[in-house]
Amino acid sequence: MMQRFFSQAWLNAKVHQGGLNLTEFLAYRVGISISTLLLYVLIAQYTTEGVDLTAWVVGNAFALCVYECIFNIGGTFNAERFNGRLRAIMVSPTSKLTVIMYNGISSIVVGFLTISAAFIIGGLIFGVQFSDINFGMFVLAILAAAFTCVGLGLFLAVFALITDSMYLVLNTLAMLLIIFSGANFPVSQLPVFAQYIANIFPLYRSVAAANLSMGGNFSAEFQQLLLGEIALGLAYYLAAFVLIKVIERIAIRKATLEMF
């Protein structure tokens, strides 16, 4: 079973990256990631008049999860529908959640690489003190963020079976994720109701945890943030698991798989 899973993940990776040569891959994945990080950190540099920018570099590197997890994983069925493959997938006996995960694995690997690259390059440009980082904690924070973002991606992907407005949904959520992550400004600046909403978004806790890993120790606060992030992730996986069964049936009933 594991063998099949990785075989599928590898074939999916070929589909995604297969159309690109190395230059295009670098321009597309790494280039966009780094320029996004640069844009926000540069705004921060300008507005704060150049205080320590580490928090922005960390936050925005994490926020790059958005592109792989939201757009790639969340857009799985959208892409399959666009290419007329959705019916073959729906009619097969494999669980549809597994199909999204097949697609997700390559996203996670690519996401991890681009985030690391963006963090290192951004860190070098903006003078992050790499020696201050507790790498164990930092990696844990990244893994927790990735876990939860993938969960959100899965959860969102399910809705593609009943709506043709996925681009709207995904783009809106991607930007909300950046707003609520606290990567660019403290969430406490937002109205109170918005601060509550931030709690159910991935990254809010893991970005805070990552910032604690700068010269920090494995404190109770760090552990709490990390566990909170993982619990949130689990909630998304569970929701996706329950929803897919319901939504698949609605889609078959309402004919939304292919016709709008």
Binding site: R87, A88, S92, T94, I252, A255
Partner: protein, 266 residues
């Protein structure tokens, strides 16, 4: 027991119209058709564009729920008991979409085989077998995006056969193929059928339907017009409607046109 059992099958679509205030409009795509297909048959479903053929097939392959009526495949309801059916059926739709264009033919087949949870050894053997069946062994490692229409369609057929289905649904599988390609496809259908696979197929090519199908159902605007063997359907053609030149040999096409144009006097 029939392999496919359809009774009083109805499917309506609700469509929103207008840019802002979407008005709901109900389209009756299938209006109570009934037929059954026996094991080992090649059954043809004929009709004009928009007659309800594809909707019927979608209901049969568990992609669409019937609005009302009975829709059973292999003795199970296609909506509600999908799990009992999905492993045992497959489908081929015409056209060039539906494959991973950036993957090779072999990788495509491996991917879809994995969706049917086949063990690796069995999968690899099956993929080679199918590549040979559709004559693509030499081009197996070339990306599908470089294939001609005919070659792409052959990959589609192989994909449809990946799980050795007991029932194969084909929606206009020869659409857009050149005569040789269509001929090859017909041979493949006959070969698959000779091994016991039941086939339900839709086509606009009457010659093809006549050559392949044991029985034919003709539907028009969601309703069943005729259901019989090609010979019997041709036999129903009234002589005055047969063109003088072809009077000696009435084709299925003549019979079809008469039926569809003037359903009442047929």
């Amino acid at each position: 027991m029939s392999v496919i059992e359809v009774k009083d099958l109805v499917r309506d679509y609700v469509i929103g119209e207008g840019l802002f205030n979407k008005k709901k409009k109900v389209v009756h795509a299938v209006k109570g058709i009934s037929f059954s297909v026996e094991k080992g048959e090649i059954f043809g479903l004929l009709g004009q564009n928009g007659a309800g053929k594809t909707t019927t097939i979608k209901m049969l392959i568990t992609m669409l729920a019937p609005t009302s009526g009975i829709c059973k495949v292999l003795g199970y309801d296609t909506f509600g008991q999908e799990k009992m059916i999905r492993n045992r059926i497959n489908f081929v739709f015409g056209g060039e979409y539906g494959l991973y264009r950036r993957l090779s033919a072999r990788d495509n087949l491996k991917y879809f085989a994995n969706l049917y949870k086949m063990p690796r050894k069995e999968r690899d053997e099956r993929v080679e077998e199918l590549l040979a069946l559709v004559g693509l062994t030499d081009r197996a490692d070339t990306r599908v995006e470089t294939f001609s229409k005919g070659m792409t369609q052959r990959v589609q057929i192989a994909r449809g056969l990946i799980n050795s289905p007991e029932v194969l649904f084909m929606d206009e599988p020869t659409i857009g193929l050149d005569p040789l390609g269509a001929e090859m496809l017909r041979e493949t259908i006959l070969e698959v059928n000779s091994k016991g696979t039941t086939v339900l197929l839709t086509t606009h090519n009457m010659y093809e339907a006549d050559e392949l199908c044991g029985r034919i159902a003709i539907i028009k605007e969601g309703e069943l017009l005729a259901l019989d063997t090609p010979a019997a359907i041709k036999g129903r053609l009234t002589p005055r409607k047969a063109k003088p030149a072809v009077q000696e040999e009435i084709t299925l096409e003549d019979a079809y046109i008469q039926l569809v144009k003037g359903g009442d006097d047929a």
